[in-house]
Subunit: 97 residues, 2 copies
Amino acid sequence: MVDRLDDAARARALADLPEWRLVDEPEGISRRFIFGDFSAAFAFMARVALLAEKADHHPDWSNVYNRVDILLTTHDAGGLSQRDIDMARAIDALLAA
Amino acid sequence: MVDRLDDAARARALADLPEWRLVDEPEGISRRFIFGDFSAAFAFMARVALLAEKADHHPDWSNVYNRVDILLTTHDAGGLSQRDIDMARAIDALLAA
C-alpha cells in the first residue's frame, strides 16, 4: 500500500516536474506528448509500457496519431502518490536520453 | 480521399461487426477489449499499431491496465468510411487468429 501525498509533498514533487499538471477526478498528474508521426508516438508508448510493467504501475493513457496523453494516478491511494512522481520522472528521462 | 458511408452502406457494414457500436462526435465505431492483464493488452496494442501503420489509418484509442478502447473514424471523410470497416475487420481477425 502506498500513501496519497499530502499538500506539501505534492507541491515539492510538482516543482520538479514543470511539464506535468495536476488534474482532478481522479487526482493525478498529466502530460501531453507530441511526436513527428504515429510511428514515433507508438515507439515512445512501447518504452513507457516497459517502464510501467517493470514498476507494476500503469498509466491511464490515450493516443491519436502523433499525440500521447498520459495520466498518472494511484487508484489504491485514492490520488497522487510517490509512485506517480517516480513514473513521471522515468518517462521524462526517456525523452532526455 | 475516401467517402463517408451512406446510411445503407453503414447498416450493411455494421451487421457484419456485431461487437462494434456506432458512436457520434466524431461519427465512428468503437469497441472495448478486455485482456487478462496489462502485458496482454499492450501486446494487442502493438499488433493493432502495426496494422494501423501498414494501412496508414490510425485509431483514436486509450488503455487503462487490461482495458483497450478503440474508436475508428475517418477525419478526412468527416465520419465513418470503408477504411474504418476494413480496420475493424482486421482488428477482429487478430483476436480470432
